[in-house]
């Protein structure tokens, strides 16, 4: 996939490496929003406050938001393209009946380990960041992409483990929603 110059510029603006994933993007966005935010306690920002001016700083914040949105879109379309390919080439060989409550990250990991599938194999098949699947298994929800995309990832992952993709995604996302409603 070719990357446009605007996307490359966005990576540079957010100080991200080309192999950054959603978690890296979120971390950079959080850091920069705090750094340039009105409440910034950063020494550098406070030192330059007098000459930089609020308007200029807000302009930087806007640029950061734009870059953030651009990279999100880029990562999503990249992941979607890959996910589509995977779903087509990997028919499940064996569907395991599991209770809905059994689709926790830990349970998914158990299934994976019982089948002797390494995380690196999943990475090899999907070309999606290794960290992503580790985060899914560890239910580190804060580091995972937005729900729509996460659902897709979980179903791809479940399919690779030979599970029924829809049931797995439903079960996993129910747990996710419980967490996210507790957040707000």
């Amino acid at each position: 996939m070719t990357i446009s110059k605007t996307v490359l510029d966005a990576y540079a603006l957010l100080d991200l490496e080309p192999d950054a994933d959603f978690a890296d993007l979120e971390a950079a966005h959080r850091h920069l929003s705090r750094l340039y935010g009105a409440e910034s306690k950063d020494m550098s920002i406070q030192l330059l406050e007098g000459e930089w001016g609020e308007a200029e700083r807000e302009k930087v914040l806007e640029q950061i938001e734009r870059a953030y949105g651009r990279i999100r879109l880029h990562l999503q379309s990249q992941a979607e393209t890959l996910a589509e390919e995977i779903i087509e080439v990997d028919p499940p060989e064996q569907v395991l009946p599991l209770e809905e409550s059994d689709y926790s990250g830990a349970a998914l990991r158990n299934v994976r380990e019982q089948k002797g599938i390494g995380l690196h194999e999943i990475y090899k098949k999907t070309q999606l960041p290794y960290k992503l699947f580790a985060n899914i298994e560890q239910e580190r929800y804060g580091n995972l992409p937005e729900p729509g995309l996460l659902r897709w990832y979980v179903s791809v992952y479940a399919k690779l483990l030979g599970l029924e993709a829809k049931a797995a995604a439903d079960g996993y996302m129910r747990r996710y929603r419980r967490w996210s409603s507790n957040q707000s």
């Binding site: 540079a12 603006l13 100080d15 490496e17 971390a27 950079a28 850091h31 920069l32 750094l35 340039y36 950063d42 020494m43 550098s44 920002i45 406070q46 030192l47 330059l48 007098g50 000459e51 930089w52 001016g53 200029e56 930087v60």
Partner: protein, 308 residues
């Protein structure tokens, strides 16, 4: 861009940071000592006029002749080099007679660089003094690798940004002058819009860009080509590493300059007790300081930087 490896000439690294007392000279000498461990020949040049101390750090007596003999009497640089107790590392001692560095002309500085490059060395580290004198700024700009050293304290950052600002304006002025826009640049500077206090750098750069149809291309190329390296010294706890990330981002957003955050040097609580007549040799040989410096060198050679 450091292309010196292909030409066979020495690569010049200039180390500055604006504030004194940040441990810049120790870092510079330490980097020099660690580079010799890679079997490279290094010259350590003390360009801190009025405040030289690299010879002390290297455990040497005050040398009779110094860098100022090159500028005032034309003594060849090779004749001024002294051996150190580190094999492969030569020292170009600093000036003790408080020569006025502002009397050094551009022609002299260019000659100095030509002669430095011709020395039998792979890498030459130039330790620049505190402050933002024209000599310091210009030497920094001429180096193959300009390296900033700071500590994570507000006073250091204050002087660091002042230094970077001078470097940026000098750099832009030089490229605009070379493009025949010297007078316009001067005028733009004189008429810079000052509503309330100093004008923001991004705005001023915009003013420069509007000087002529070719100005934006010249300025953008100059900003793109100038790559800084940043080292944060005397880190006392891991949280202070954030200061480096902030500096890197601010350099990009406000000063429009790209910087690689190439490393940190952790604070050594018993640093002063560890110094002997041999200087800092044992500290450079192994241990925490040596490890931190090696990581910086790895990042510099690979064009890499610290990641979160």
């Amino acid at each position: 861009m450091d292309t010196t490896e292909m030409t066979g000439q020495a690569s010049i690294w200039a180390i500055a940071g604006g504030k004194g007392g940040t441990g810049k000279s120790i870092v510079t000498a330490g980097l020099a000592a660690r580079i010799t461990e890679q079997n490279k020949r290094v010259v350590l040049a003390d360009a801190d006029f009025g405040g030289p101390n690299l010879h002390t750090i290297m455990g040497l007596k005050r040398p009779k002749r110094s860098i100022s003999d090159f500028f005032s009497e034309g003594v060849p640089l090779e004749d001024l080099l002294v051996e150190t107790n580190q094999s492969g590392l030569m020292l170009l001692p600093g000036d003790y007679r408080t020569m006025d560095a502002s009397t050094i002309t551009i022609t002299q500085r260019e000659k100095f660089f030509r002669h430095l490059k011709a020395l039998p060395a792979d890498i030459i580290l130039v330790d620049l003094g505190a402050g933002s004198s024209i000599h310091t700024v210009d030497t920094f700009l001429m180096a193959d690798r300009p390296i900033l050293v700071t500590t994570p304290e507000v006073t250091s950052l204050d002087n660091l940004y002042l230094f970077v600002k001078k470097v940026l304006f000098r750099h832009l002025n030089m490229v605009l002058s070379q493009a025949g826009l010297k007078e316009q640049a001067k005028k733009a500077w004189r008429d810079r819009p000052r509503i309330d206090g100093p004008v923001a750098i991004p705005l001023l750069v915009e003013t420069f860009q509007s000087l002529s149809p070719i100005a934006p291309a010249i300025i953008n190329a100059a900003l793109r080509q100038f790559r800084l390296a940043l080292i944060v010294n005397q880190i006392r706890d891991p949280g202070q590493i954030e200061v480096g990330f902030s500096i890197r981002s601010v350099l990009q957003q406000y000063f429009l300059l790209r910087a690689a955050f190439v490393g940190i040097v952790r604070h050594l609580p018993d640093f002063w007790q560890n110094q002997t007549a041999e200087g800092c040799r044992s500290l450079f040989a192994m241990g925490q300081l040596a490890d931190d410096l090696d990581l910086i060198l790895t990042h510099l050679s690979k064009g890499d930087q610290i990641k979160r």
